[in-house]
């Protein structure tokens, strides 16, 4: 539908396209160009380096291992919780998504306290078995996959559960009526219908694991992966090599995304939801015992990291050495966060930088989503692609791109010195937030009847009034949800931050790492708890804003006929 002449598309589209090309595409081009700066020298060095070859294979092994582990946990759990009813099901359902609420580095820290060489669980087992040394060293590829499984199974669980809720239960009944047994029903009906959800979530895990940085960084031991290797090369001054590694990592991720899109197109069913998913109540004594036990174990495993971080946040720094649990507890850690200006600073930085980034996300992504959903103009497809790219590119690669582009002052080519200034991190957070906010707003706008815009214009509303009174209210749920996700991501961001931070603008996550290095576990945990609380606060604010607006718009709804 061509409505080009009715409303301004290009005057809006041109600046938004320019900003996104500058922030999203340009840095990647700088990295690729940088990798060829001396012809193929850096690429040859990359190909010849055994470390890099190991890093590449470790990255792929970890990504595949994470997919298997996360699917192995998430898939059965999704079936268990949507198909069966047993004591503890509701608690387990509520807790199952908890790992997603842990900021990336905080999860890793919690695992260190629990399962690390001197972790609580490790020591309990060591004591119980009377061993000389720890029963395991929590390092290397298995440790990394273990952490990934904990944080990433949530993707599989959520997507498959949603898929299962949508599967029409009458299909199941129809298959049974035609004489198919439980096994055949699963193989021929349920699993094929779930294929898009399973494939989608597996690729999500694959991509996340591919770009993962925190777990390999902390638990890697001698194992290097591409993302950590990139940082090491950069810190060692091998910038050219870092660019090659970044290019390889980004290309692997883009290949993953292309595969994902292709699978999505190939297999997608619209399954109408008729009749709620019915749950089978577990009745046999053995079944009830097994289900109950499983629920208790899983809830414990899921909650332990949170509890552990909270516990350690009250431990006096330096006092916890060889005991199983910290021996002394104090409120000092929290008191110092508020009073010590050096400790207060990262908190201020994170909040301020997240605010700047999210404000930019709201404006740019709203306009982009509006153009994508409601306008047709040359360049619409390009815009769609631009807002999706940051989702596919690992944060380390985004950060290296920014470092490669904004380290010189050359306004003619659109380059400014941002590295080392306040602005570099908000820019990185902004880029990471683009797909989150844009996708959310797009889906809100897609639910709107496009005729609504015509209706407003036909009633005499100006373009601006239409946007203000009709489009923004329609986009609001997406704006709030997207902004919330972007804020949560930005406030706890670690991966891009650790590449780009300076002492003055270091965020909370980088400070947590510094405190860990200094063995100030209590302080590190206190920062972690604060981060969890910030995340929680953002969610609460988002919900409050949402309800306030919904109520404010319609006023009190009086009784009919009043």
């Amino acid at each position: 539908m061509s409505r080009r002449w009715l409303s301004p598309s290009l005057p809006l589209a041109i600046p938004v396209l320019a900003i996104l090309l500058w922030a999203v595409v340009y840095p990647n081009i700088s990295v690729i160009a940088g990798s060829f700066a001396d012809g193929f020298v850096h690429w040859r060095r990359f190909a010849a380096s055994p470390t890099d070859r190991e890093a590449l294979s470790a990255t792929l092994i970890i990504a595949l291992g994470s997919v298997i582990a996360a699917t192995g946990i998430g898939l059965p759990l999704a079936f268990l919780l949507t198909r069966f009813d047993f004591r503890g099901r509701k608690t387990l359902s509520a807790i199952a998504t908890l790992p997603a609420a842990l900021p990336p580095l905080v999860g890793v820290v919690a695992f260190l306290f629990l399962y690390g060489e001197s972790g609580v669980v490790t020591r309990v087992i060591q004591d119980a078995l009377g061993l000389e040394k720890a029963p395991w060293s929590f390092t290397g590829i298995p440790a990394i996959i273990f952490v990934h499984a904990y944080t990433m199974y949530v993707y599989v669980f959520l997507l498959v559960s949603a898929g299962l809720e949508r599967v029409d239960t009458t299909l199941h009944d129809a298959a049974a009526g035609l004489g198919a047994g439980a096994f055949r029903r699963m193989r021929r009906v349920t699993l094929p219908l779930l294929t898009p959800a399973i494939a989608g979530s597996m690729l999500l895990v694959f991509m996340s694991a591919l770009g993962s940085f925190s777990a390999p960084y902390v638990f890697g031991g001698g194992v290097r992966v591409l993302s950590t290797q990139i940082l090491a090369s950069k810190l060692n001054g091998n910038t050219g090599l870092a660019y090659v590694e970044t290019t390889v990592l980004a290309l692997s991720a883009v290949a993953g995304l292309a595969l994902f899109r292709w699978l999505e197109r190939r297999r997608s069913y619209t399954v109408s939801a008729k009749g709620a998913a019915t749950r089978v109540v577990v009745r046999s004594a053995a079944g009830r015992f097994a289900a109950g036990l499983l629920a208790v174990v899983l809830v414990t495993v899921l909650v332990l990291p949170h509890l552990m971080v909270m516990l350690v946040s009250f431990a006096r720094d330096g006092a916890w050495t060889t005991q199983i649990l910290p021996p002394e507890y104090t409120l000092d850690n929290f008191r110092r966060l508020a009073t010590d200006s050096e400790l207060w600073r990262p908190i201020r930085n994170s909040v301020l930088m997240a605010l700047v980034a999210v404000a930019a996300n709201i404006v740019i992504c709203f306009v982009a989503a509006y153009l994508i959903v409601l306008r047709s103009f040359p360049g619409r497809r390009l815009l769609e692609l631009l807002v999706a790219i940051p989702w596919a590119i690992p944060a380390t690669a985004i950060a290296i791109g920014l470092a490669a582009t904004f380290n010189v002052h050359d306004p003619k080519t659109g380059r400014f010195i941002l590295v080392g200034t306040f602005w570099i991190l908000p820019l990185a957070y902004f880029i990471r937030g683009i797909p989150l906010v844009a996708t959310a707003v797009e889906s809100s706008l897609r639910q709107m009847d496009p005729a609504i815009e015509d209706a407003a214009r036909g009633l005499g509303a100006s373009w601006w009034m239409t946007v203000r009174r009709v489009i923004v209210p329609a986009a609001r749920p997406g704006l709030i949800a997207g902004a919330m996700l972007a804020a949560v991501t930005a406030v706890g961001e670690f991966v891009a931050s650790v590449v780009l931070y300076t002492h003055a603008n270091r965020p909370i996550s980088v400070e947590i790492l510094a405190q860990l290095r200094a063995l100030s576990f209590g302080t590190a945990a206190a920062f972690s708890v604060l981060l969890i609380l910030l995340t929680l606060g953002i969610t609460i604010i988002a919900r409050w804003v949402e309800t306030r607006f919904t109520r404010g718009e319609l006023g009190e709804v009086p009784a009919v006929g009043a």
Binding site: M1, R3, A455, A456, G458, G460, S462, R469, V557, P558
Partner: protein
């Protein structure tokens, strides 16, 4: 409300290679209700959108009381429009929806309220003003959409499939209500529908579209009794088209070797068609005893109860069957019957 005279002068609209609307012209007099009907994809909605200004014609012009408004944006035209799915603003109350057009015109709040209230009571919804849109039934939403379009006192009111979202019972009562409301308000209105019952019940005149072109414009009776072409006769009502010889005021129809001479009419005076079809409507035909001299011989192959009577399907030859209406249901399937033309004249269309 001052109703305007709306006219389309040869407007066309292409989407790439596809000509959605081609050379469409018609005029709507002040206070007249015109229905644009046609199958889906016939270009009727695109035509309506061009009248509203949501779509710009590639050629031709739209005039209102003689003024060329082709280049006017929708908000400048000030036409009221009722959308197929109503396009009500989900976040606004009923009253705010209705008052939106006044808000856009800078009318102050108290006047807005008062006028919205007044229009809501014309559509029979005086008590729902403060309620959220979602709490209304489909029929009520339809009336809110109408009220929202009427509050700006439009010189032309446009309605896109206004009844298609309602269930059949509600649809019939809304049909009559809509007609009487539009009559009372004396508003010039164009509405799009694919349902000829809706069009016949509401409109003063009907414009039938097919493949982006207007086939015929006229009163419902005209389109029914004097279709201008085969396509019109096919689309409007039930009819069987049979070969006929055009003898000006008469037609000679030969079926199964039996020739009958019947009175005939055409949509316009023209030299005799070289090849013609006679439009045989079920109620123009009658069943007689099979031995009646001069009747076409046939066998009943189908029988359907239609409330006021029966409709028989009669096979006259191997590849020709006609529908015949009958008040009684005394004959049964496989019976031999004679068929005659009871009501003359029948319409002739060029083959």
């Amino acid at each position: 409300m001052t109703a305007g005279t709306l006219a389309l002068h040869g407007i066309s609209r292409r989407f790439g290679e596809h000509a959605a609307v081609e050379d469409v012209s018609f005029e709507v007099a002040p206070g007249e209700l015109l229905a644009l009907i046609g199958a889906s994809g016939s270009g009727k909605t695109t035509t309506l959108r061009m009248i509203a200004g949501h779509e710009r014609p590639d050629a031709g012009k739209v005039t209102l009381d003689g003024t060329d408004i082709t280049a006017f944006s929708p908000q400048k035209r000030g036409f009221g429009m009722v959308f197929q799915h109503y396009a009500l603003f989900p976040h606004l109350s009923v009253e705010d929806n209705v008052a939106f057009g006044l808000e856009a015109r800078g009318v102050n709040r108290s006047v807005r309220r008062e006028r919205a209230q007044r229009v809501l009571s014309t559509v029979g919804l005086e008590r729902v003003g403060p309620r959220p849109i979602q709490s209304l039934s489909g029929g009520e939403q339809q009336r809110v959409a109408l009220a929202r379009a009427l509050v700006i006192e439009p010189r032309v009111l446009l309605l896109d499939e206004p009844l298609s979202n309602l269930d059949p019972t509600l649809r019939r009562s809304m049909r009559d209500e809509l007609r009487s409301m539009l009559r009372t308000l004396h508003v010039t209105a164009v509405f799009v529908t694919h349902d000829q019952d809706d069009a016949f019940a509401i409109a003063d005149r009907v414009a039938l579209m097919r493949h982006g072109r207007i086939l015929q414009v006229g009163s419902p009776e005209t389109l029914y009794a004097k279709p201008a072409s085969r396509d019109v006769a096919d689309f409007i009502g039930r009819a069987t088209l049979v070969d006929a010889v055009d003898a000006d005021t008469h037609a000679i129809i030969t079926i199964g070797g039996v020739a009958r001479k019947v009175g005939a009419v055409k949509a316009s005076t023209s030299p005799p068609f070289r090849k013609a079809f006679a439009v045989l409507r079920p109620e123009a035909l009658g069943l007689v005893d099979s031995k009646t001299p001069g009747a076409w011989q046939g066998i009943i192959v189908g029988r359907r109860f239609a409330g006021s009577g029966f409709v028989y399907r009669v096979a006259l030859t191997e590849d020709l069957a006609v529908d015949v209406a009958s008040a009684t249901g005394t004959v049964g399937e496989a019976d031999s019957v004679g068929v005659i033309v009871e009501r003359e004249p029948v319409a002739l269309v060029p083959a």
